[in-house]
């Protein structure tokens, strides 16, 4: 028998064994298919940065036509659900008790100053605890206020002329739906989960159950062993990827602006990086507990937090921004968000893909040096 025939036969044996084990082990299936669905549902429905129906206290000390039209601007907005309070004290109490997130306060002299001096103050108090939401709410309040100003001016036969008028155009995600950027990013997290966590766990399991010793003593070469592990989990990971993309597209209605084939090609690259990490962890950790800990700490959490999936990398402090450069998910998240929302933007795709390719080469080079057919 020639050498290549032997290698192919050994590889076939490994691949068949791994595939059978995946099919028979409920926990592999759980991590590969149930976890992605759960995560997608949680993030698709549970996580939203889009504030709607912000509970707002309206305090109108002296109701009249002007204050009524002002209040109407808030009532008509889908961003607010205003409640009337008679006194500012009551409203402040409600704010303290977290019943409302903000107060809009028209003092008793609102109409008088509006007509006389034209400098009527509108008091706005926001609960600043959740700074991000407070900022978003303040933006919405300003929007409602400006539309009221327009309406007020035109009802008085004037035109409101501000020195500078802002006209906004949001590209790629005009409605600014947070789901549209969260769901594509999640694909990277899910593939990390399958590629790194699952792979590290199954190799550790072989050590724990003593099957590794029996494998090692056969004439199989270390490269064949690694490849035999890699192929089935590659297929599994790509399966998880396709499932996530399908759910993103049809369950959550995220548009896929770029080409599917480019998505597939870059996903392949990232999958190899994730598998490389998983196999590398398994050369260090020989029981499932430790492998799981390491995989979560060095692959899963960074993919979650340091990849730009939720939190904007540009706003992190410089040292942390520096660290994000070694997080592979960072590059893939950038590709995903671009491919889904913007389209085939070659400079973004190529630059990040090159980084992924480099990381893949490094991981496999280290793996080639570290992995040995020995027990020590």
């Amino acid at each position: 028998m020639n050498a290549r025939g032997g290698a192919l036969m050994r590889l076939r044996g490994m691949v068949r064994k791994e595939s059978l084990q995946i099919l028979r082990d409920p926990s592999s299936i759980a991590i590969a298919f149930v976890m992605p669905v759960v995560l997608l549902l949680l993030f698709g429905y549970g996580v939203s940065l889009d504030a709607q129906h912000i509970p707002l206290a309206m305090v109108i000390e002296r109701p009249d036509a002007n204050s009524a039209s002002f209040a109407a601007a808030f009532q008509q907005s889908e961003y607010f659900s205003p409640r009337r309070f008679d006194s500012i004290q009551d409203a402040e109490q409600a704010l303290r008790e977290r019943q409302v997130d903000g107060i809009v306060w028209l003092r008793g002299d609102f109409s008088r100053r509006l007509l006389a001096a034209g400098d009527a103050p509108v008091g706005v108090i926001l609960n600043g605890v959740d700074a991000n939401q407070a900022r978003i709410a303040s933006g919405y309040i300003q929007g409602a206020w400006q539309s009221w100003l327009q309406a007020y001016a035109s009802s008085h036969g004037q035109e409101l002329t501000l020195p500078a008028a802002v006209e906004q155009r949001v590209w790629f995600n005009p409605a600014l739906r947070s789901r549209n950027f969260l769901v594509p990013g999640l694909v990277a997290v899910i593939m990390t989960l399958i590629g790194a966590l699952l792979t590290a766990l199954v190799v550790a399991r072989e050590w724990e159950r003593g099957t590794m010793e029996a494998l090692m003593v056969t004439p199989i070469r270390i490269g064949e062993l690694l490849l035999g592990k890699l192929l089935p989990y590659f297929v599994l990971g790509m399966g998880g990827m396709l499932l996530s993309v399908a759910m993103a597209r049809w369950q959550f209605g995220v548009p896929l602006a770029g080409s599917f084939w480019l998505l597939l090609a870059t996903s392949t690259l990232f999958m190899l990086v994730a598998l490389g990490m998983g196999l590398l962890i398994s050369t260090v950790a020989r029981n499932q507990f430790v492998a799981g800990q390491i995989a979560i700490l060095v692959t899963f959490l960074p993919a979650f937090i340091l990849s730009g999936f939720i939190f904007d990398i540009g706003s992190m402090p410089a040292p942390i921004q520096f660290i994000t450069h070694v997080v592979p998910a960072r590059y893939f998240v950038a590709i995903l968000q671009t491919l889904f929302l913007a389209g085939d933007v070659w400079p973004v795709v190529l630059g990040n893909a090159a980084a992924l390719l480099l990381m893949m080469l490094i991981f496999f080079a280290v793996l080639g040096r570290k992995a040995r057919k020995r027990l020590e």
């Binding site: 949680l42 993030f43 429905y45 996580v47 939203s48 940065l49 504030a51 704010l95 303290r96 008790e97 977290r98 034209g118 400098d119 009527a120 103050p121 509108v122 008091g123 706005v124 609960n127 600043g128 605890v129 700074a131 991000n132 900022r135 978003i136 303040s138 309040i141 300003q142 206020w145 409101l160 501000l162 020195p163 500078a164 008028a165 802002v166 906004q168 949001v170 590209w171 790629f172 995600n173 947070s178 950027f181 800990q293 700490l297 937090i305 340091l306 730009g308 939720i310 939190f311 904007d312 540009g314 706003s315 992190m316 402090p317 942390i320 950038a334 968000q337 671009t338 933007v345 973004v348």
Partner: protein, 369 residues
């Protein structure tokens, strides 16, 4: 009874602290998470990349641009001079937004009219885009007010006076860091308790324990104490780091904070022991803890508000103890809340704790093999 429980609790603590691996689990991940969340998990926008496309070149335009250059929220990365340059800048993520000033901006504004400013935003990250838009509006509004005052133009007949309470500068770190106290105490307590029975099952010591005259209730209490103690210690440590390291104000009563922490730990220990009673191996215990933890954190209001979730999901959050504890934490830290205001958060945690402990006790008795 007391002697039994003390002996058990002492043994649990010793077993936990003498083991290198569990010491690592208690120290490594919490520190990593504190650093990562404390520094990286921010929704604040800093140095957002902006490209200026000034078609006007007039004085008014320069004044407006100067305001963008002076803002710490923005960093001007490019100045461009024709339309074709806009798309590549946004597409390639070189600039988050392009500020285009109309050719007739200065002319309009000087003649008492309204000058047009166009903002083109990359909406791929909707939250960042929204924040950038808000900052842009703020800068333009300031510019308008100053301009109007200086040139004797009549401004809008009314103006907003926005005052954020509790967090005047709207720093998201003030929001995130107190939340970490809840997050990490949950993680540590859950890991300590969820693995405690499974570890003994794997090592075979659980049988040894069950054949002694110890009662299941005593074993249960003995196993809760280390989780409570370690959670309390770790919680206090993170509170201290939050106040002294991150400079978060602690405005309310420390007693109210610790009452909340104690009740929260009770419920976390209950859930942990429930997982533990069900798990046969540490692997399962870990998976169980993970499966509880991820949704518990995501659906707690830690990063994104519960109010933004769909109604059905909001209902689900009522059984999540972290939801209540986060309100207590932020209430005490930033709002200066006292006991009375937090009553509505205390009793659900106490209830969850009680129910889960009773369930754990029941499961314990019925899954002894």
């Amino acid at each position: 009874m007391l002697q039994h429980i003390l002996a058990l609790a002492l043994k649990e603590l010793l077993a936990l602290l003498r083991d290198k691996r569990s010491r690592f689990v208690l120290i490594g991940p919490p520190i990593a998470q504190l650093l990562v969340f404390g520094f990286a998990a921010t929704f604040d926008l800093q140095n957002a990349s902006i490209a200026i496309y000034d078609q006007d070149q007039g004085a008014a335009a320069r004044e407006l641009i100067a305001r963008f250059e002076g803002s710490r929220n923005f960093e001007v990365v490019a100045r461009i001079d024709h339309d074709a340059q806009v798309a590549p800048l946004i597409d390639d993520r070189q600039a988050l937004l392009v500020l285009r000033i109309d050719p007739r901006f200065s002319q309009e504004i000087l003649s008492g009219g309204s000058g047009s400013v166009q903002v083109i935003l990359d909406g791929r990250n909707s939250n960042t885009a929204m924040l950038a838009l808000n900052y842009t509006r703020g800068i333009v509004t300031d510019f308008n007010d100053t301009w109007a005052a200086r040139h004797g133009r009549s401004g809008p007949p009314a103006h907003l006076e926005i005052r954020p309470w509790y967090n005047a500068n709207l720093e998201s770190r003030w929001f995130v860091v107190p939340g970490i106290v809840g997050l990490l105490t949950l993680v540590v307590t859950l890991i300590v308790t969820a693995l405690s029975v499974a570890r003994e099952r794997e090592a075979g010591t659980f049988d040894q324990l069950l054949v002694t005259p110890l009662r299941p209730v005593e074993i249960l209490i003995g196993k809760s104490i280390p989780g409570l103690l370690i959670g309390l210690l770790q919680g206090s440590l993170i509170v201290a780091i939050a106040v002294h390291g991150f400079g978060i104000p602690l405005r309310g009563s420390v007693g109210a904070l610790y009452l909340g922490m104690a009740l929260f730990l009770l419920s976390a220990v209950g859930v942990g022991l429930m997982i533990s009673s069900l798990a046969v191996t540490q692997q399962q215990g870990l998976l169980g803890a993970f499966l509880f933890m991820v949704p518990a954190i995501i659906l707690s209001g830690f990063a994104t508000p519960i109010a933004n979730m769909p109604e059905a999901v909001q209902w689900l959050t009522y059984i999540n103890p972290l939801r209540y504890f986060l309100i207590v934490l932020r209430g005490v830290f930033l709002q200066g809340d006292s006991y009375a205001l937090l009553m509505d958060q205390y009793w659900p945690m106490a209830l969850i704790g009680l129910v889960s402990l009773i369930l754990a006790g029941w499961l314990f008795r019925h899954r002894m093999y």
